[in-house]
């Protein structure tokens, strides 16, 4: 019987030889991601119910990120609860401040993601890890509590939609533009409850960093998970990086696996895209929106705060000055160090940007770059909902690091290709 990669991983996790979309299974969890917003509540719930047990202290990865370093007293209390618990339970992989980073950049970087595994996290963008041929999905605090205690969780096996990415990306067009184009095409509920499986030659020219930008935003189309098959690029990223158990299982979709739908995208025809407020599906080619005045440019987050993103932004800003507030947020301490060593900070500094510590920060309207009423921000993040980065009367325009950098220089939405 033929299966997709998602079905194969879920079947194996439930000890079954075959599953079909719609089946309810009990999956064994291989890795749990815990951060400062949703985990403290899970911990309290477990305490309250008297089921204060951790299923495996080596399979839980903890990093504060949303409000770290603590932005106020209340978030400091959240961090304290997380810290006390992580120490008390002897969580092996606990990234304290200094080592902490934006979870979805940190876990792959630190080698916690293995192909073929089932990974969950108390964060909707946990779907990022699907770039490594793993099944990964976001859950709320109660599911998190249940998984922390039992190491299992029920899932309904999702039907899969196949996205075939064809064609070479032209200069100035990146994986961010690809995923914004996909979401613009199918809508924010276009893949509701489904697996989004990405295949095709365009992926072969993308680094793991670029691929993670694509799977990161699967949730913005309503998907349960996003997934990309294993290849040499995946292997190269993982070699020497994987922590703990070195072996992993590589699953591939069968040639005759069933898909609910196949969507083909000719990536060679794509232009830089900006998702206009207030849904990630608001993508328009830069030609349709260039010139719109901005107040801030934000380059960071689990979508586009990796070293490659910072290099792209720096290449555009080199020798230029920014016209608006521009905030650079390296997603992890390692990326921060690397950017500094490569001289990117010098470029950002000279251009007039501010560089932040690794944090989710303003992406979700936390801190480090909140918008006032009436302000507009071009941002490399993943959501442009009403009030997402501050005042409900502010606006967020989602774009690639290149577009955000070019727009920072001009103070308005700008075509990054002019600077290449």
């Amino acid at each position: 019987m033929s299966m997709t990669i998602t079905e194969k991983i879920l079947a194996a996790s439930a000890g079954k030889t075959k599953v079909e979309p719609g089946d309810i299974i009990d999956a064994k969890i291989d890795c749990i991601m815990c951060h400062d917003v949703t985990t403290p509540a899970a911990i309290s719930m477990l305490r309250e119910k008297g089921i204060d047990k951790v299923f495996d202290k080596e399979k839980i990865v903890v990093t504060p990120d949303h409000f770290q370093p603590a932005k106020d007293i209340k978030s400091a209390e959240l961090h304290k609860r997380l810290d006390t618990w992580a120490r008390e339970k002897g969580i092996k992989h606990y990234y304290k401040i200094g080592a902490a980073g934006v979870c979805h950049a940190l876990l792959p970087e630190q080698g916690h993601i293995r192909p073929g595994e089932v990974i969950i996290g108390g964060d909707s963008h946990t779907c990022t890890y699907g770039a490594f041929a793993a099944f990964s999905t976001g859950i709320g605090s109660t599911d998190l509590a249940a998984a922390i205690a039992t190491g299992t969780l029920w899932f309904r096996v999702p039907a899969s939609i196949k996205f075939v990415l064809n064609g070479k990306l032209s200069k100035g067009v990146y994986s961010k533009d690809v995923i914004l184009a996909v979401i613009a095409k199918i809508g924010t509920d276009g893949a509701l409850y489904k697996a989004m499986e990405f295949v095709g030659p365009t992926l072969k020219e993308m680094t793991m960093e670029a691929r993670m930008t694509i799977t990161n935003m699967a949730i913005e189309a309503g998907a349960k998970n996003g997934i990309i098959g294993f290849d040499e690029i995946t292997k190269k990223y993982l070699d020497g990086r994987v922590k703990g158990k070195k072996e992993y299982t590589v699953y591939e979709s069968d040639k005759d696996a069933k898909y609910e739908q196949t969507v083909k995208i000719d990536c060679s025809k794509l232009e830089p895209i900006v998702a206009l407020p207030s849904l990630p599906s608001g993508g328009k080619p830069i030609g349709d929106c260039a010139g719109m005045k901005m107040d801030q440019s934000y380059i960071g987050s689990c979508t586009n705060g990796r070293i490659e993103d910072l290099r792209i932004a720096a290449a555009i800003m080199k020798g230029k000055k920014v016209a608006i507030r521009t905030i650079i947020v390296p997603a992890t301490p390692q990326i921060w160090k690397q950017a500094m060593d490569e001289g990117l900070f010098d470029i950002f500094y000279a251009a007039g940007c501010v560089i932040s510590a690794p944090t989710c920060g303003a992406c979700l309207g936390g801190f480090m770059g909140i918008l006032a009423a009436g302000e507009k921000c071009v941002s490399t993040t993943n959501r442009n909902f009403v009030g997402r980065m501050g005042s409900p009367k502010s606006e967020v325009y989602l774009a690639s690091p290149a577009t955000a950098a070019a727009s920072a220089i001009e103070g308005k939405l700008a075509d990054c290709r002019k600077y290449m």
Partner: protein, 160 residues
């Protein structure tokens, strides 16, 4: 008697239900004071115990924050009736012992101010104002069990 608050909108997201600026707490009573704030600043004042929110497609899309459900529960919302729900929000509702009701054409069938009564097990909404009985597909039995036990953790505790 429970009243309906109808929002003829699709994609009402978790940032509207509970803005992230309030996520520095997980205290239900505190979250409740900001429930639906970025969509309707008057909501908390208008909502009486047991009232229901009625909306279009993809209710609860966005973040995995269970705080969205807690804010609704804290504001004493009885249930959300929507054309469809985002996946994580739907699951969070059940896990918290809160009813998500999927109803085709919800915003056409129930208006703001309508008095309604819901039979969750049978899958019937009695719209007393319009004197109409509206059928919906009830939650699967295992989900109703979780909701009735008061959420997933109570359910796990009971079934051990």
């Amino acid at each position: 008697m429970a009243k309906a608050h109808t929002y003829k909108r699709d994609h009402i997201n978790t940032d509207e239900i509970i803005p992230a600026r309030y996520l520095n707490t997980d205290n239900m009573a505190e979250l409740a004071t900001h429930c639906m704030e970025d969509l309707d600043t008057e909501f908390v004042k208008k909502c009486k115990t047991g009232d229901c929110i009625v909306a279009g497609d993809d209710f609860g899309c966005g973040s995995s924050r269970e705080h969205a459900v807690w804010a609704l529960q804290g504001a004493k919302v009885g249930a959300v009736i929507a054309k469809s729900f985002a996946r994580i929000f739907y699951r969070n509702c059940i896990n918290c012992g809160f009813y998500p009701i999927e109803l085709d054409g919800a915003t056409e069938k129930i208006n703001t101010g309508d008095e309604i009564e819901i039979d969750y097990k049978k899958g019937v909404i009695n719209n007393k104002t319009q004197k109409k009985e509206i059928k919906f597909k009830p939650l699967p039995d295992f989900a109703i069990e979780i909701v009735n036990d008061g959420g997933l953790l109570e359910h796990i505790k009971k079934s051990r």
